[in-house]
Structures are given as C-alpha cells and as structure tokens.
Symmetry: C2
Subunit: 664 residues, 2 copies
C-alpha cells in the first residue's frame, strides 16, 4: 500500500500539543519513553504477529502462545531489560499467557505470604523461570466465597507433611490461568486441618509436574477447562482444572508468614499483621484499574479514528457524505468514553500513589487508612472494569457492521477484557463491600470518628443534605465546585437514605440483604464521586504543553456531566439539583462535544498505540480502512479455495435434487 494519511486533516485541526499530551497520558517522560520503545520493539518483531489469531485452532493458538512467551523471555534476557521494561514488553505482546500468572500472582503470593526463608528458596527459581507457577484458588463450586473452599491440607505429624486432597467434585480447582498445561508449581489454597481442627484457608506451594518430563506428579490430575469467549482472546491461556488425591508436601511448603504450623502441628500466629493481605489486594486491583484505562482507550482509539474515516448520508450536490463523527448521536456515545478513558487513567495513577501511601503506613504499623483504601480500591476496580467492558462493546457498535469483523480488533478486545469484571472480586460483590464501608462510616459519624480519605466528605453530611445547587446557566456546570458539590450531595444523600432504610430493620443483616440493590447504587455514586474529584484534583496541578490542560478540562467536564445526565434520576430524586439544572447540564454537554470534536483524533493519538497493538483495520493510524479490510478478508482459510470444501457432498446434491439418495 502506498503511504497515505487520510487523517492528516484531522490531525491538523488539533488545538493542543499532542506530544505533551502523550507524556501526561504515560504519567512521565520516562514512562512514555519506555512504553514507546517497547511497543515498537514488539510491533517490529514478526514472532509477535497477532492478526492470524482468530483463525487458529485451539492447539495451534496455544502452541503459538508458548512460542511468543519463550521468545519474549529470550528477548528480555538478551536485551537485559529491567523489570519495568520487561513488564511493558509483555504488555505489548498483548496475549494472555501463563506468564501473566507467574509474574502477577505466583511470585507476589510468595513475596506477600512466604517467610524470609521461603522467599529465599523459591523466588530465585521463579525469577529465572526454572519453575513456572500459578495461583490455584478458585474451585468449581467456589469463587467469591474464598472461605468456602473445599480442598483440604491435613497435617500429618507422623511424616511432618501436609496431605492435599480434593474431597468432592466441586472442590476441583477450576479457572487458574497457567495451570492447565504449563505450570510446574502452584500456590494452592486449601483448608488447613491440624489435629482434626479446621483452621481456615491458607496457601501452600505444591509442585504439580515433573521437571524432567512435565508429567503430572502422582495423585495429581490436571487439564484445561475448555474454550472460552472469543476467537483468540483467553483461549491462549490454559485455565485449568486440578484435583488432588492425597498428595503429600513437606511442612515447610505452607506459606507461613502470618500463621505457622509447628513440627507438632500447633498453629502459631506470627507478629506479622494479617492486614498485610489487604495491602496486596490494593496493589493487584490498582493494576486492574490501570489496565481498564488501557483497554478502554484502545477501543476508543479504534472507534474515533474509524468514525472520522467513515462517511454516511448527508451528501449535498454530489459532495462527500458526512463523517459519522460529526453526528451528535455518535458524539454523545463516543466522547463520554473518550473522557472516561482519561478519567480512568488518572484514577489509576492516583491509586498507585494510594498503594504507596498505604504500604508506608503499614510498615509504620498505621492501619487507620486501610479499610478506606481497601473499600476505595475495590469500588474503583468494579466501577472502571464494568464501564470499560460496556464501553468496548459500545465502541464496537459505534463502528457499525464492520465492528463485528475480527479484523476490526474489537470482538477480541471485548472477549479478552470482560473477565476482569469477575476476577479479583466479582464487581457486584465488591460494590456491596463498598456499601458496607459506607454504612459503617455513617454509623460512626455520631461517635465523632472522622471519616478519612475518599469518605472525608461524609464529615460534611449535614451540610450536604441541605445544599441546593446554584447553577443558573449552562456554563455554571463548568465550575469545579459546582460539579463536586453535586456529586458529593448525591452520594451522601443516597448513602444516608440507605442508612435510614436499614435502621428500620430489626436484623441489620436482613436489612442489608433486602436493600442490597439500592446499596449497590449508593456505592456506585460514591465511586463516581471519587473519579470526578481526582480528575478535578489532577487539573489543579501544573500541566505543561500548549492547550493540554484545556483539553483535559473539557474531558473532565464531559465525564462529570455525562454522569449527571445518565444518573439524572439519582440527582433529581435526592434533590441536589433541579430538573432545570439537569437540562442545563445536558445543554452544556452538547457544547462540550462540539469543543472536543476537532481534537478527537489528536486525543486518541496521544495514547501512542502502534497499529500492531491496536490490531484493527478500522483503527489504523493512517485511516486507510477499506483497502485493509478488503485485504484482510482474503486471508481467511475459507478463501483458500474458490469452491468450498463440502460443495460436492452437500451443496451439489441439493442443487441437483439428488438429496434423497445422498449419504450425509
């Protein structure tokens, strides 16, 4: 194809410095540089080709993933990449693989729950990939309710071993990524039984496969749990099933940082605070929020570029038709998602800070902010992943029929993303945790306990219950204080309403259960407030670059006012704004869409995604959509022959009226 840039006119219209925006998006110049370098390294390496994924059968696909993982590791060694670079490289390979669990769950579990001694023994092996590990927690019968896991680890004082067993079918480990075909080891969660007593669920390092021939060790049954949503997507991952038939491991393979089992089978609590485990959860969920902004921005980038290329209707006197990005219906669906991508980026950044803050405090034995940080991270994980999953599908719809083709990249992006709504905490279960924290915060208001961090506004609940928005004209909605007050008032009032309704129940648990759907809505309102307020805080910072801050202000307003419109029922029924003010918010929103329109393409260019990473005929940087779609089509296996396989046996007899005698 000749070099074209169908989007050049769009890029020329931008009113801000896109190179500076790239730095803002990446978080720092350094982060940008690493990310940019790694993405190009991956894009230029033919081993990392991914356009053929949807056409591969499961076995081929999986073998190809093994190849990519080995190649990536080889490159990481050869180029002596540091941890951040290696992470970025794997990120841009953009294919779920066993290595995700090895680096992201197995190693952190040992670091977080293993003793010094255990860490010294196992981590060097894991760091060099002399062993490959996974994280075997969920079972066929238990996901969210970790305390209900059925696998047992019974201490045998005779031999100083634990006996790991799967007592029921539903106790089969089910879902762990990397388990099915690759991992040699696992951190297995099981009920600790000592002296006939159930001591609750703990982690154990268990070798699964021989390091000689990769065969499962005696007593261990492992397999893959089968195909999942999408063509490639998570089918490159060997999510596995695992059963134990009285498998013995040495006592020192129980992760004993918090609880030790002695030679005699006694349980001894260490002086390491149990709360540490929440610190790890904050860390993992924080990375999930960052990933949400990546996935959403990717879908938005594809949909925005294609919306500028695609034209439909509105031709006058034989001139070109209207770019679909110029339709208000398209803008009203697309631009809030663009704004959300930026909002989630900044909330992810802030969560990184929060994790550092919490870790520092934990080390100083200060647990005071932990419940709030934990609730906040849980809620933001839920909010951002749900919005991203829905947002990707919305972007696909915004691409019309062509978005349904695998070559658009969007089906795969959706299929590969949606598990994040379920893993590391089901999104509804997490919101109920947030709601519980909110109800507790409110119940403690009387006692003089001051709410901290993201719940601090609850300290002003009386004022927030009274306030009336003073928006009078549409532009008033651009004022940060106006927006913040409306979101605070809505969140506070929804929580208070729930608390009041709860107080009417004699059994609070029964009340919580009965009102849980309303509690979830109050939790959402609280989490949206956090995202809005942190976006506004970000705008308080000094942000260099021509027009950069102005664009972010527009996006922040779009994010907030879009939520006002979407959840208007909340805002109106809690009385924090009037119907007239809601209508003014909508009016302002329309005007903001017009302001963002000329900058839309540059705003998605700022994500700095290569065409390889995007993996989309519709989202190409140069906008050369139609020739690419056309070329991609011919690569389908069905096009290997003009007359399809099956014509002679099935189609011809039909056409020739010879079906009666045909053997089918």
């Amino acid at each position: 194809m000749e070099a074209v840039d169908h989007l050049a006119p769009e890029r020329n219209r931008a009113q801000f410095d896109v190179e500076e925006m790239k730095i803002v998006w990446a978080g720092s110049r350094d982060a940008f540089e690493v990310s940019d370098r790694m993405s190009r390294l991956v894009a230029s390496d033919p081993v990392f080709r991914k356009d053929n994924r949807p056409m591969l059968g499961r076995k081929e696909l999986f073998k190809n993933t093994l190849r990519k993982a080995a190649h990536a590791w080889k490159r990481i060694i050869e180029l002596r990449l540091n941890e951040e670079e290696a992470y970025r490289l794997r990120f841009y390979v953009d294919e779920p693989a066993f290595t995700d669990l090895h680096w992201g769950m197995f190693i952190p579990a040992i670091k977080g729950q293993g003793t010094e001694e255990q860490q010294q023994k196992w981590l060097p092996l894991a760091y060099k990939m002399q062993i490959i590990g996974c994280y075997a927690q969920t079972e066929l019968g238990h996901g969210s309710n970790v305390q209900g896991l059925e696998t047992t680890a019974t201490f045998d004082p005779q031999t100083d071993e634990f006996v790991i067993n799967s007592p029921t079918l539903t106790s089969s480990k089910w879902w762990p990524g990397g388990l099915g075909k690759v991992s040699t080891h696992a951190v297995v969660y099981a009920r600790l039984i000592t002296d006939g007593q159930d001591q609750g669920v703990h982690g154990f390092i268990v070798q699964l496969r021989s390091l000689d021939d990769h065969l499962p060790l005696p007593g261990i049954t492992i397999g893959d749990i089968g195909m999942k949503f999408g063509n490639g997507a998570y089918n490159s991952m060997d999510n596995g099933v695992l059963r134990f038939d009285d498998v013995r491991i040495p006592r020192n393979q129980m992760l004993m940082r918090v609880l030790q089992v002695t030679r005699e089978g006694k349980c001894v609590q260490s002086n390491v605070p149990r709360q540490l485990i929440y610190g790890t959860m904050v860390y993992v969920r924080q990375t999930i929020v960052s990933d949400a902004s990546c996935a959403l921005s990717r879908a938005v980038c594809i949909a925005t570029r294609y919306s500028a290329v695609r034209r439909q209707f509105g031709s006058h006197n034989g001139g070109p038709e209207t770019q679909v990005i110029d339709y208000k219906t398209q803008q009203a669906r697309l631009f809030p998602l663009l704004a959300s991508a930026y909002a989630f980026r900044f909330i992810g950044e802030w969560l990184k800070w929060l994790y550092t803050d919490v870790t520092g405090r934990l080390q100083a034995n200060d647990f005071s902010t932990l419940p709030e940080a934990h609730a906040c991270t849980a809620g933001l994980k839920s909010l951002t992943t749900s919005a991203t999953a829905d947002g990707i599908e919305e972007c696909r719809k915004l691409c019309g029929g062509h978005g349904y083709l695998c070559s658009s990249g969007l089906p795969e992006l959706f299929a590969v993303y949606i598990p994040s709504c379920t893993y590391e905490g089901d999104n509804v279960v997490l919101l109920l945790q947030v709601a519980r924290h909110l109800m507790k915060t409110i119940s403690q208001l009387g006692s003089g306990k001051k709410p901290v961090g993201t719940t601090a506004y609850m300290g002003r609940v009386e004022q927030l219950m009274q306030c009336r928005s003073d928006v009078q004209i549409a532009e008033d909605w651009l004022k940060p204080n106006v927006v913040l007050e409306a979101f605070e008032a809505r969140a506070a009032r929804m929580s208070v309403a729930c608390a009041q309704a709860l107080s009417k129940f004699t059994n609070p648990e029964e009340g919580f259960q009965q009102l849980s759907a309303d509690l979830v809505e109050a939790a959402v309102a609280h989490c949206q407030l956090i995202v809005v307020s942190k976006f506004l805080e970000k705008l308080q910072q000094d942000i260099p670059g021509k027009g950069v801050k102005q664009q972010l202000q527009i996006l922040c307003s779009i994010y907030a006012l879009f939520l006002v419109h979407k959840h208007l029922g909340d805002f109106l029924s809690t009385g924090c704004i009037t119907a007239k003010q809601g209508s003014l918010a909508n009016e302002q929103l329309r005007s903001l869409y017009s302001q963002v329109r000329p900058n839309a393409i540059a705003l998605v260019d700022a994500f700095d995604y290569t065409d390889h990473y995007l993996g989309s005929a519709l989202g190409r940087y140069d906008g050369n959509v139609y020739p690419t779609l056309y070329e991609e089509a011919w690569k389908d296996p069905l096009n290997e022959s003009v007359v399809p396989d099956g014509y002679q046996e099935y189609v011809r007899p039909m056409l020739k009226q010879q079906l009666r005698n045909a053997r089918l």
Copy 2:
C-alpha cells in the same frame, strides 16, 4: 450420568400451571405442538450436534454447516414438512446458514419486487433449491445509506442487457450472508443507469456461479469476508464480498414490479404502489422482534436455572450456602430480563397482527396507517434487539466466571445475536426515524390530523402535559391506568420538549441534527410505552390456566416499574411523577421480585427449550451443572495430550535455562 433433577424442589414451588403457560408463550396450542415436535426432532438427531462448534476451525465449521443444511432439507422433504414446520426445524438447528438468506431475503425480495412473470420463473427454482440465492445490498462503503450505493447497472439498448459494475473498491458488495461460498444467485442492488441518467437504486437477479461446477461466472469475484465475533456464532455463515467487472444480465432480470425499463431503455412506473416496500420492512422487522424474545428468553432460562443451582456464601452451622437467585442484587438484574422476555414475546405477537392489518389495508389501497406502523416496527426492532443484546451479556455476568466458558452457551448466544442491532436498520438510525415520525405527529396536531395507532395518545397531549400521578402507596403502582398514564405522560412530554427545542432553530434539519441525542431518548420513551401498553392489553384478554394470568400480571408490573426505576430521570424531569412516587415504585418492585422468586424456574420452563437448543452446561433442565462442566472440559483439543504440543520447543528450554541457544 444418573437421572437427577436438582431443580425438582424449585418446580414444586410454582404457583401456576406451567403447561398452560407454555401455550401462552407459544401463542397457541397448535404453535406449541409444532414447535415442541420440531425441537425434539432436531435434538434427537446426531447430525445436528452443536456442542463441538467452538472447537472447530473455520473450514471444518463451515463444512459442518453445509452438512446440517443438506440434512435439514433432506428431512424436510422426507417428512413432507409444511412451511411452518420447516421454518421451526431450521430454527432449532440453531446455526446461521446460507439458507436463512435464501428463504428469508432472496425469496421475499423476488415475491415483493418481482413481476408475476418473474415470480413464475424464479420462485419454483428457489423453492426446490435448484438455485440458492442471497441478498446483495450493503457495500464496503455503504450500509445504512442505501441510496448511496455505488454499484451500477447500466442499460445497454444495443444488447437489451444491463451491465453490472463495481466502479470503486468501496462499491464491493460486503456482508451479504450466503454470498461468499454457496449462493448461485443474488438479488443485487445497484444504481440503475439508463441513457446516462441515474435512476436510483433497484434490485437485479444476477447469477453468480456456474450451476455445473460452482465456479464464479466471468467478471465476478467472490470471497468470504473473514472471521467474525465469537467462536462458532456467525462464522458458520459465508458473509461475502462481491465485485463485478462489467457483468451482463438480460433486461428481464431487473425486478420490475414497481419500475419497468422498456426495450428502449425508458423507465415506466407501474401502478403498484411504492409503499409496498414498507410493508415488507414491517414483515421482516416483525420477525426480528419475535427472534429477540427467543434469544433473550434463552439466556434468561440459562441464568435462572444456574442461579438456582449455584450457592455462595451465607452458610449457617454447616448448612448449605444460599442459592444465588435468593440475593436481591441477583433478582434485581435477572427478573427484569425475565419480564422483558415475556414482554417482547407479546409485542412480537402484536406486531404479527399489525403486519396482517397493514397488508390488508394496503391491498385496499389504504395507506393511512402505514407511516405509523412503519415507525412503530422500526422502533420496536431497535428497542427489543438492543435490550436483548445487553440482556444476554447481563445473563452471562449473572452466571459469574462459569458464564465465560463456551460450555455455558452464553458467549455464543451473545456473539450470534448482536448483529441484529445492526442489520435491517442500525438501531440508532431507526430511533431517529421514529423521532422524525413523532415530531411530524406533533407538528400536525394543530392541523386537526388525528394521530393513529400507537401514537393515538398524542391526541391527548394537553391533558398529558398537565397530569400528576396520584400514586400514594406502593401498591398503587400495580394499577394499569397509573402505569399507563405515567408512561404516556413521560413519552408525550419528552417529545413535546424536543419539538419546542426544535422550533427555536431556523433550519429544522440543523435543529434535528443538534438535538438528535435527545430525540433518540424521546423515541425510546415512546417505544417503551408501546411495549408496556400492549402487555397491559394482553392482560385484558381471557387467559386460562391456574395462576397463569397472575404471573403475567406480576411480570408486566416488573417490566414497567423496572423501566420507571431505570429511567427515573425522565419521569422526574418531565414532572409526571414525584421523587417520592419514584421511590414507591422501587419499593413495589422489591416486593414483586419476592413474588416472582418461587415461580422463576417454572417461568423459564414454560419456554419449552430442549437441552440441545439451550446448549448450556449451566442451563440444563435437570440442574446437573458441575458434572457436566467437568465432563465438557475434557473434550477440549488441548486435553488430547497431557504434555502440550510446544513443550519441547518452548517450555522446556525456558525451564532448563537453554533459551539463549534455542531457535524459536
């Protein structure tokens, strides 16, 4: 597996006659009998096996589809099935195939747009499948804007032929199902050019492939457009690309029922009204609405049964955990979808009546109700397909992690369903058509033109602008008049608000464009009113069977009050209800969920779906979920060997630190 029925206790709790409900769902005893018989015929035939679909490569999958299509046709002939039976049989085969387009689009196009003579020539061939046809309308560059199609059909008076040509890359026909590999013929839409004049877009019957060897005829390039969303899903369909290089067809292959081209190349309008084409659109979209209720009910059936089997949390003293269907958060998401499935079923039934009514009127040259019927069908197509697509994905989420497995059946159901939001009219474009009709209706109110059919309520607009709901207690929301008035008032006020805003623009087209997002919301409000009002009308009928009507009343109330809650912003900002009344609606909704709970399993049993049709380990009739999931897993190709293909080349060198020298 031994015979179990884990759901028997649930079935025993039902408070209504499920056999009678099956008749209501099917529409009549006859319809039930045919449907039931055909579904069992398909389920018992091993050729129609479908559990292996996600694991097949594209070519295998497609060949298997050809086999099923031939086998289905053979059975139809052998058993001398009538049209309705044959349709049902194909329906239960449950796999998109070229036959869908042959029967659903090619034949109807000839019937609708062909002259008597043309019908006599082509229909017998098509009915016997001596030719296989498709419907080649959309192009790479044009979908919604049919008038923008670029393919040309130029009349050559010298030879009395049309010359069909694809002048640009974007004029390539793109998407037509059945085109890529199977069809021998197509109805091709092209710009008619006579005597250098562009006469607009018309249909032409074009032979594509030789009936001898199936090779494309000279000047014709055909292929498949490549993989689409999902594992099996629409990949069993050969959606195709087609280019013409000056292909000649005889003049009598233009479909000339409405417009004729004479031997001299003159265009002559026939006396057949052009509006007939809208009649066909009403027909096709009506079937799409029926299909929506099938797809949604299927997802709901799976999610409901699994929610009754799945238990998580809430165990007391070692007793069983709580069934997830007992959680209010689950009910608040699942039961509105159950109610929607029923609502869409009845609106589909009503649309069938509407089509009959419109057809009768057209034959009597009465076009008065056509615009309203057309708008109404367009809007309901949009409303029901969007809600169904979202609803299927919500059902998948309601199944937690296991819903992500192909063996749950839900990924495929989603992937195969979502195109219906795009085909036969993009859902947003359709809502804009509805909005246009509403604005026109309002503008004609002053002129004394009485709004008809589903817009009749607009005739009472002055009263509706004033009314205040008189709900005082939660139970008031159970009164049909209360619900109807609230929905009418909301819809009327949103339309009027749009009309008033529009009137401020000097250029109405510019206004329509600027306000299009609001207009879409007004159209949605109007369409939801139609669904609610037709459900209420259905309940006016005599419905036999113990408790059947009561259950439908509960479902109708859930459907309506769920919408009140979801769109509370609309209801409050238009002032038809107060915040307090909105809160009472929510309260009533919670109580309705408790009422539907004991009947939930029986209400999905009433759909009468076989386990074959559901195709879901989670939705099995007997609730035997876990053993099924476990068995399904082992069928994955990855489990053919214990040590995966690729271990020697890629995993072992990594573990043995020999990657540096490995060739990858």
